[in-house]
C-alpha cells in the first residue's frame, strides 16, 4: 500500500481534531478558502508564469501547522483562553486583583492557571512540531518539472499553477493536474486512487487528443500555451468542469482528464500534466477540511454538571453574602471599634455585594480547572495504551492499533451499536479458489486413509505445482486428485480450466520472465484465473483480438471473437473464441440458477450431480459459479456476429438489444462444472461477533455489496443462523410496499404491536415528531433483518424511519445491502437520533468514511482498501477481531477509569471547598479562607493530582482476559451506570458530608482546648493546618479505597503525595522561607508546633474514619443486599481467579445448506468494452494474428 504520499496525515495526536487542517484558523488554508470565495473561475495558461501570477493562486506548499516560533505564544494563549474553564480562571484572577473583593492572594489562581496553560501549551507545541515535520517532509518531495524546455527536479512545494510536470510510474501525483500526454497509446494513464477514495482497482484517465500529440517532446511541451478556464477549487472528487483553449479551439475538460493529488500512477511509464490546482486548493486537501467535533457523552454530561455547579456556587455565595449582611447588622456594626469599616457602612448593600464576589473567588474550586486538564491526560494515557497494545498489533501488515483521536476513549466502553462494513472488514476481500466440481466429480476435499474427510489446517500437505513454472506460489490447493486429473489429460478437466483461463476480463502484466501479475476488477475473477494458471492453463496476455494461454507449457493463441459482458440482470458472462485449430467455442460462467436454464437437455444427469455439489459448497459458505461451454459452427457464429454488430451500433436501447442478442447464442450449452470460492473471513470474526453480542452490542452490517453475498457472510459469521425464528428480507421497490413489508415483519416479531394499545405505538403517536427517545422493545424471538438499498432509501424517509428503527432494533442482526455511502451515514444518524446510545462504525474503504464520521466513534481498518477510512477514523487497526479488545478491554477500562476519576474528583473538590462555607458562619462571613493559601494553590495540582492520576492510568478491576471472558461486564458502560447525574449527586452529598466532618471535628476538638504545654492550639493557623491535613489524608485514603490495582506506581504516588505534602508543608512553614517573604509565607512554625500534639493526630484520625466509614458500610450493604449483575460476575471471577484461566470456548461455525451465493463478478460493468475496443492494448503485442478476422470491429 502506498502511504508515503500522505505522511502529513499520520500526525500522532491531534488535539480534539481528527484531521489536521481542521482548525487551521490562520493558516494558508483559510486564506485559500477566503480567496476561493472570491474566485469565480480559475483561469490559467500553461508555461506562462507572468499570466498565472496575476491571480495569486496558492502554490503547492501545504501548511498544516498552526504556529511558528514567534506566533506560538500569543496564538496559543488566545486559543486557550477561548475555553470556558480558562476564561473563567482569568476572570477570577481579575477579580482577585480588585482589593475590595480580593479574598485570596493572586498566586492561588495564578499557580494552577500557569501550570495548566503551560501543560496544554507544551502538548500543543509538540503536536505542532510533528505537523511541521510532516509538512516539511511532504513539501520537500522531489518532482520533475518542465522549465524552459528542460526537465528539472524541483521540490513539491515549489510547484505552481500552470507548471507542466512529468510523473513516472508509481509516482504519487503532486497536485491536481490536467493530463496532457503519456507513454501509453491514446495517452491513457492508469491510476490508483486508494488514498483518495479507497478503491484499489485501477482507473483509466485519458488525455485530449490535441494534447496527447505533444507526447514527450519537450520543445512542443514548452511551447504549449494552452489556456484553461475551469471552476474554482472545490471538494468534489469525481467532478471537474472546464475548458481548454488551445490554438483558438475550445475543448471541454472533465474529470476523466484529471489526475488528482493523492493518486498514484500505475502501469504507465511517464505522463505529463498541467497543474490546475495546487496545495490547499487540491481536491484532496479541500476534502480533508470538514471534520465534526466529536464530544463524548461524558463531556456533555460534564458541561451540564458544571453548569449545575455554577448555580450551586452562586447559591452558596448568595447565602454567604446574605449571611454577611445579617452578621454586619447584628455584630459587625458593634465590632467596629476594633475594625472600623468606614466606607462599607455608607451603604449596607455594598459590603454584601462585595462579599458575594469574594466568596466566588474562594469557592471557585468547586469548578476545578484541573478537571479538564486531568481528563485530557487520562484520555491521552489510555490512548497510548491502545497504541502500545501488542495484542492489537497485526504482524503481517506491521500495523499497530492507533488512536487518532485522544478524546473519545471512555466512549469505547459505552458502545451499544456497531455498524460494520462487510468487504475488507468482516472479510479479507481475498477470494480463494478452494473447491470445484468438474464433470460430476467434486474436488477440493482431503480424505485420510480411512476415507474420512479431514479438516484442512496449516499442516495439511499442499498440492505441488512445481511442474508448472508459471504457477503462483501463493496459491494453495490440497486435493491432489485434481492435479493428477490434469496431468492425466482428462479432457473435461482441461476444458474446465481452459474456460476459466479464457472467460474473464482480467489484464495481465509480465514483470519479469515468468512473473505474471493479474489486474482484475473483482477478486473473484482473479481467484479463478489464478487457479487455472496453477493447474497449467496460464492466461498469459491479451490483445484486443487475442488471448494467449500457455496450456501445460505450450503457448496457444486464441482469437477473441466477442466478450458477452456481465451485468446484474444477466448474471453471467461469456467469451467466444476461436481455437488455434479453428473451432469456435463459447465459454460461459455465471450464477447456477441462470446457467441451468441455458443448458442443453443432454446435461440433465450431470446437472443433478453438480447441483448436489453446489449445495454442498453453498453449505460451506462458498461462492459458487457454474461453468459451461458451447461449440459453435462457423456459420451460426457469423450470422450471430452480424446481429451483434448491428445491436452494438444501435443508438437506442443498446443495452437491451445487446442483451437479447447475447441470449440468442448463450443457449444449449454443455455443463462443465462449478467453482467454489471462499470469501475469506478475517480471523476471529465469528468469535468476535459472538462476544460482542454477548456484551449486548448490536451489530449491523452495512455493505455496498449484493444481498446474496452479504447474507452469505452474515451466516458465515453467525450473525444469522437457521435457529432464528425468521429472517425478514425487505426488498420492495416502492414506498408503500416497503411499509407493508416492515409492518408485517413487526407484527410477526411482536404480535399486537400494530394495535393502538401497544404501549410503544401509543407512545409514538403521542410523541412529538422530533427529539424523542425510542423506548426499548423486546421481540418474541430472535429475528434477523435484511434490507436492500432501494428499500432502505424509502424506509429512511421521514415518515418511515421510526418504523424501520423499531423493527431493526428488535432484531438480533440487521444487514443492509447495496447501500450507498450516504445511506450508511443515514442509518447511523437514524440510530443516533432516536436512541440515546453510543454508536461505533467500523470500515475500511472510502465508502465507509461517511458513516465513520457520522458515528460517535469511527474505526478504520488499515487493510487492503487504502487509507481513506483510516484517515477519517478515530481509531484504527488492522483486523476486525481487535474490535473486541478495543471495546471490552480498553474501552471498558477507560470508561471505568474515567468514571472513577470524575466521581473522585467532584467529591474531592466539594469536600475541599465546602469547608469554607461552614467556616463562613464562624468568621463573620468575611470570606476568610480556612486553609493556608498555599494549600489552596497546591491542593488540586500537586497534593491530590498524582494518586488519582495513577489510579486512572493503571486501574483495572479485572484483567483483560477476564474482561473478554465475561462480556457481561461491559454492560454498565452502555447504560452509563458508573457516572451519571445520580452518581454525581451521590458524590456531592458525600462531599458535603465530608466537609461537615472536616470542619466540625477539628472545631470540636480545638474548641476551648490548648496544647499539652498549655499554649495555643485553637489559633487560626493551627486550625487551618489540622483541617487541611485531615482533608488531604481523607482525600488520599479515598483514592486508596478506589484503587483496585495497586501497582508500585500507585503506592509511590499515594505515599509519595502524603510525604510530599508534609515535606512541602515543613518547607513552606520553615523559618528561612517565612523570614524571606513574611507576607507570602505566614505560617511560620505552625507545622512544628501542632504536629507534635497527640490531639492533632487523634483529630485527623477521627475525621478520616468518620469520612470513610459510612461509605464502607454503604458499599458492603449494597454488595450484600442489592448486588448488581456485574458485582455477581466480579464475585464469580474472584472465585475463579484462584484457578488458572481455562482456554476460551471455541465458537463453532454452523453451516446451513439452504442458501446459495452465486456471485463472482465485478460489481460494475467489466472491462469488456475497453478490451474489445483495443484502447488499452499496447501496440507491441507479441502474438500478432492476421487481419482476416475483421468481422468484429
Amino acid at each position: 500500500m502506498q502511504v508515503s504520499g500522505m505522511p502529513l496525515l499520520k500526525v500522532p495526536f491531534k488535539k480534539q481534531t481528527k484531521v489536521v487542517f481542521e482548525d487551521d484558523e490562520s493558516g494558508p488554508n483559510t486564506r485559500a478558502l477566503t480567496r476561493a470565495r472570491k474566485e469565480q473561475e480559475r483561469h490559467l495558461q500553461a508555461n506562462n508564469k507572468e499570466f498565472n501570477e496575476k491571480f495569486e493562486y496558492v502554490n503547492n506548499a501545504i501548511r498544516t501547522s498552526k504556529y511558528n516560533f514567534f506566533t506560538f505564544l500569543p496564538l496559543n494563549l488566545f486559543e486557550q483562553f477561548q475555553r470556558v474553564a480558562n476564561a473563567y480562571f482569568l476572570f477570577l484572577l481579575v477579580l482577585q486583583l480588585i482589593p475590595q473583593v480580593s479574598s485570596l492572594s493572586w498566586y492561588t489562581t495564578v499557580v494552577p492557571l500557569v501550570l495548566v496553560l503551560s501543560m496544554t501549551g507544551v502538548k500543543d507545541a509538540i503536536d505542532d512540531m510533528y505537523r511541521h515535520e510532516s509538512d516539511k517532509q511532504l513539501n520537500n518531495q522531489p518532482v520533475l518539472v518542465l522549465v524552459n524546455g528542460m526537465i528539472k527536479e524541483e521540490k513539491w512545494m515549489n510547484i505552481k499553477v500552470g507548471d507542466i510536470i512529468k510523473l513516472q510510474n508509481n509516482d504519487s501525483v503532486t497536485a491536481d493536474v490536467l493530463l496532457l500526454s503519456s507513454s501509453e497509446p491514446c495517452s491513457l494513464t492508469y491510476i490508483e486512487t486508494a488514498e483518495l477514495d479507497g478503491e484499489t482497482n485501477l482507473k483509466v484517465r485519458q488525455a485530449l487528443t490535441v494534447t496527447s500529440n505533444l507526447g514527450d517532446n519537450l520543445e512542443k511541451l514548452n511551447t504549449f500555451k494552452g489556456e484553461v478556464r475551469c471552476e474554482p477549487p472545490n471538494n468534489k472528487l469525481d467532478e471537474f468542469k472546464g475548458i481548454l483553449i488551445y490554438e483558438n479551439e475550445k475543448y471541454p475538460l472533465d474529470n476523466e482528464k484529471m489526475l488528482l493529488r493523492g493518486c498514484t500512477i500505475r502501469n504507465t511509464d511517464w505522463c505529463y500534466g498541467l497543474v490546475i490546482y495546487a496545495g490547499h486548493d487540491t481536491k484532496l486537501m479541500q476534502n480533508s477540511g470538514k471534520t465534526i467535533f466529536k464530544r463524548t457523552n461524558i463531556d456533555h454530561l460534564m458541561n451540564v454538571l458544571v453548569f449545575w455547579i455554577f448555580l450551586f456556587l452562586a447559591g452558596m455565595c448568595c447565602i454567604l453574602a446574605i449571611g454577611h449582611g445579617i452578621w454586619d447588622n447584628q455584630k459587625g456594626y458593634y465590632f467596629q471599634i476594633y475594625l472600623p469599616q468606614k466606607e462599607k457602612f455608607s451603604a449596607p448593600g455594598v459590603s454584601t455585594f462585595l462579599i458575594f464576589w469574594s466568596y466566588l473567588i474562594i469557592l471557585n474550586t468547586v469548578v476545578p480547572i484541573s478537571l479538564y486538564v486531568s481528563v485530557e491526560i487520562i484520555r491521552l494515557g489510555n490512548s497510548f495504551y491502545i497504541n502500545w497494545d501488542r495484542k492489537m498489533f497485526y504482524i503481517p501488515y506491521n500495523t499497530p492499533a492507533q488512536a487518532h483521536t485522544t478524546t473519545l476513549n471512555e466512549e469505547l466502553g459505552q458502545i451499544q451499536y456497531v455498524f460494520s462494513d462487510k468487504t475488507g472488514t468482516l472479510t479479507q476481500n481475498i477470494m480463494v479458489f478452494i473447491k470445484c466440481s468438474i464433470n460430476g466429480r467434486s474436488y477440493g476435499d482431503v480424505y485420510d486413509m480411512t476415507g474420512q474427510k479431514m479438516e484442512i489446517t496449516e499442516e495439511t500437505e499442499k498440492v505441488d505445482f512445481s511442474y508448472n513454472k508459471l504457477a503462483d506460489p501463493k496459491f494453495s490447493f490440497y486435493d491432489k486428485s485434481l492435479a493428477e486429473a490434469v496431468k492425466k489429460g482428462d479432457i473435461m478437466v482441461h476444458l474446465f480450466f481452459l474456460s476459466l483461463s479464457l472467460c474473464h476480463t482480467v489484464m495481465s502484466e509480465e514483470k519479469e520472465e515468468g512473473e505474471l501479475v493479474y489486474q482484475a476488477q473483482s477478486p473473484d475473477e482473479e481467484a479463478l484465473v489464478t487457479a487455472a494458471r496453477n493447474f497449467g492453463f496460464v492466461f498469459h496476455s491479451r490483445t484486443s483480438e487475442t488471448i494467449t494461454v500457455i496450456e501445460m507449457g505450450v503457448t496457444k493463441v486464441y482469437k477473441l471473437l466477442a466478450i458477452l459482458d456481465f451485468n446484474n440482470v444477466r448474471k453471467r458472462m461469456s467469451v467466444i473464441v476461436q481455437t488455434p485449430k479453428g473451432k469456435v467455442i463459447l465459454f460461459c460462467k455465471g450464477a447456477d440458477t441462470i446457467i441451468w436454464e441455458l443448458l442443453h437437455s443432454t446435461c440433465r444427469f450431470l446437472q443433478d450431480v453438480t447441483m448436489e455439489h453446489l449445495d454442498e459448497f453453498a453449505g460451506d459458505g462458498l461462492r459458487t459459479l457454474a461453468v459451461a461451454f458451447r461449440e459453435l459452427d462457423e456459420e451460426t457464429f457469423q450470422r450471430w456476429s452480424r446481429k451483434h454488430y448491428e445491436a452494438s451500433i444501435s443508438l437506442e436501447d443498446r443495452e437491451e438489444k445487446l442483451g437479447l442478442v447475447y441470449e440468442e447464442i448463450e443457449k444449449d450449452m454443455m455443463l462443465l462444472g462449478a467453482t467454489a470460492i471462499e470469501d475469506k473471513l478475517q480471523d476471529g470474526v465469528p468469535e468476535t461477533i459472538t462476544i460482542l453480542s454477548k456484551a449486548n452490542i448490536n451489530l449491523w452490517v452495512l455493505t455496498g455489496d449484493k444481498q446474496e453475498t452479504a447474507v452469505n457472510i452474515a451466516y458465515a459469521c453467525n450473525m444469522l443462523s437457521d435457529d432464528m425464528d425468521d429472517v425478514f428480507i425487505i426488498n420492495a421497490k416502492d414506498s408503500s410496499m416497503v411499509l407493508q413489508e416492515l409492518r408485517s415483519a413487526r407484527n410477526k416479531m411482536k404480535p399486537g404491536s400494530l394495535l393502538e394499545t401497544d404501549p410503544v405505538t401509543a407512545f409514538l403517536t403521542r410523541a412529538k415528531r422530533k427529539n424523542f427517545i425510542m423506548p426499548e422493545e423486546v421481540a418474541t424471538g430472535s429475528f434477523g433483518l435484511v434490507i436492500n438499498g432501494h428499500s432502505l432509501a424509502h424506509a429512511l424517509e421521514k415518515n418511515m424511519e421510526v418504523e424501520l428503527l423499531r423493527i431493526a432494533c428488535m432484531c438480533k442482526s440487521v444487514i443492509c445491502c447495496r447501500v450507498t455511502p450516504l445511506q450508511k451515514a443515514q442509518v447511523v444518524e437514524l440510530v443516533k437520533k432516536y436512541k440515546q446510545v453510543v454508536t461505533l462504525a467500523i470500515g475500511d474503504g472510502a465508502n465507509d468514511v461517511s458513516m465513520i464520521k457520522a458515528a460517535h466513534i469511527g474505526v478504520g481498518l488499515s487493510g487492503q482498501e487504502g487509507m481513506q477510512a483510516v484517515l477519517a477514523s478515530d481509531f484504527s487497526f488492522a483486523q476486525f477481531r481487535f474490535l473486541q479488545r478495543l471495546l471490552l478491554v480498553h474501552g471498558r477500562w477507560s470508561y471505568l477509569r474515567m468514571c472513577k476519576f470524575l466521581r473522585y474528583f467532584f467529591y474531592k473538590n466539594f469536600a475541599f471547598t465546602l469547608v469554607h462555607f461552614w467556616y463562613g458562619f464562624f468568621s463573620g462571613f468575611s470570606a476568610q479562607t480556612i486553609y493556608d493559601e498555599w494549600f489552596i494553590a497546591f491542593y488540586n495540582l500537586v497534593y491530590t493530582s498524582l494518586p488519582v492520576l495513577a489510579m486512572t492510568l493503571f486501574d483495572q478491576d479485572v484483567n483483560d482476559l477476564w474482561s473478554l471472558r465475561f462480556p457481561e461486564l461491559y454492560e454498565p458502560g452502555q447504560y452509563n451506570l458508573y457516572f451519571n447525574k445520580k452518581e454525581f449527586v451521590k458524590c456531592i452529598i458525600y462531599g458535603i458530608y465530608s466537609s461537615l466532618v472536616l470542619f466540625f471535628v477539628p472545631y470540636g476538638s480545638t474548641y476551648n482546648s490548648v496544647q499539652s504545654s498549655g499554649k495555643d492550639i485553637s489559633d487560626y493557623q493551627s486550625f487551618a493546618l489540622i483541617v487541611q491535613t485531615s482533608l488531604l489524608v481523607v482525600a488520599t485514603v479515598q483514592v486508596g479505597l478506589e484503587t483496585a490495582y495497586w501497582t508500585t506506581v500507585n503506592q509511590f504516588f499515594i505515599w509519595g503525595s502524603l510525604i510530599l505534602y508534609f515535606s512541602l508543608m515543613f518547607l513552606l512553614y520553615s523559618d528561612g522561607l517565612c523570614l524571606l517573604f513574611p507576607h507570602t509565607f505566614r505560617f511560620l512554625g505552625t507545622a512544628r508546633n501542632s504536629l507534635i500534639q497527640p490531639q492533632v493526630w487523634l483529630t485527623i484520625l477521627l475525621t478520616v474514619v468518620l469520612c470513610v466509614l459510612p461509605v464502607a458500610v454503604y458499599r458492603f450493604l449494597q454488595m450484600e443486599l442489592l448486588p448488581t449483575k456485574v458485582d455477581k460476575v466480579l464475585r464469580k471471577i474472584h472465585e475463579c481467579m484462584k484457578y488458572p484461566l481455562p482456554p476460551p470456548p471455541r465458537v463453532r461455525l454452523r453451516r446451513t445448506s439452504s442458501r446459495r451465493s452465486a456471485y463472482a463478478f465485478a460489481h460494475q460493468y467489466g472491462f469488456g468494452a475497453l478490451i474489445t475496443s483495443g484502447k488499452n492494448m499496447k501496440s507491441r503485442a507479441k502474438f500478432g494474428f492476421g487481419d482476416n478476422f475483421s468481422s468484429y470491429k
Binding site: 475594625l339 476538638s1005 498549655g1014 487560626y1020 474472584h1134
Partner: protein
Amino acid sequence: MKSRKSRGLPSKMPDNTAFKQQQLPAWRPHLTPRTVLSGFFTTGAFFLGMGILLILSAKSIKEIEITYTDICSNCSKLRENASNFYKECNCSIHFIIPEKMPGNVYMYYKLHNFYQNYHQYIMSRNNRQLLGEDITNVENCAPFQRTSNGIPIVPCGAIANSMFNDTILLSYYPNSSTRINVPLLSSDITWWTDKHVKFQNPKSSNLSSAFAGTAKPPYWRKPIYQLDQENPENNGFLNSDFIVWMRAAALPTFKKLYRRIHRIQQFADGLPAGNYSFDIAYNFPVTVFKGEKGIVLSTVTWSGGKNFFLGIAYTVTGAMTWLAAFSMMAVHLKLKKKQESLQH
C-alpha cells in the same frame, strides 16, 4: 531498534513491557466480608478504648472559669464610653477552688464574640515590621497604618491595636487574714518559634530609640517598648502578651494563655484548694460589641485542655462502628444462610 531487527520483529511492533501492555505487577486487594467485618471490629475496639481514655484524661483536668463582664459591670459600663479611656477601673473577684489543682496550672483570658478571624482583621498586620527589620513598613495594616499626622503606627494593624490589655493578679487566701500573691510567670507562654523567630525587636541598644519616630496604636496606653515595666526583656515586639495576642484565633470564642503559675513555695504542687481572688485592672472594652470576657485557670494533660469532644466523639464513633459491624454481620450471615438453603 537494532535489537528488534535482530530478533526479527516487525518495526512498528509495540514494546513488550509490562507498563505498555498494562500488565504491571500489582496487588489487588480483594475485600471479603470477613476482612471488612474484622476491620470494622478492630476499628471499633480501638475507638472505644481511645474514647474512654480521652474522656478519663479530660475529666482529670481541673478547670475554673470566671466570666467577669457582668461581675465587673461598673467597669464594663465605664469602658463603653471612649472618653473614659484614661480612667482606671479595678475590679476584684473572690472565688473558691474546691479541689486542689495539681501540677502546672495555667491562667487564660477568654473572649467571647470576638472575631479575630474576620478576614480584614486577620490580614491587618505586617509581618515584616514585626521582624524588626523595617518598623516603618505599615503595608497591609489598614485601617491602622498611620496616625492622622502620618506617623507610622508600630505595631500597625487591627490585631495589634485591639490587643487585650487587662492585667490580672491572682491572690491566695490560706486563711481569712492572709493574702498571698500567687507568683505568675509571663515567660514561656508563646510558641518558641514565635518568640525566637517570627518576632524580633529592631537591633538597637535602646528600645525606645529604636522605636523613635513611630506612634503607638491608638488604643494602647503605652508604647510598645514600655509594655512590661518590670522585665525590660519582655518589651517591644518580644513582649509575650503581645505575641500571644498576635496569634489570631480561629473562632470567635477563644482563650489565650495569660500566665503560668510559678510552682514555688505553697504552689510547688499546683494551686491548693481554698479561697482566691482575681484583681483585675479592667481596660479592655467588650460590651460595646456584645462580647464577654473571662478568666480560666486550668491544668492540662497529654491530650490538651478540658475538652470532652474528642473523648465523646471517639466513644460514639467506636460504638457506631460496632453497631454497624454487628448489623452488617447479621445481614451477611442471613444472606449466606439463604443462599445455602437455596443450594440444598
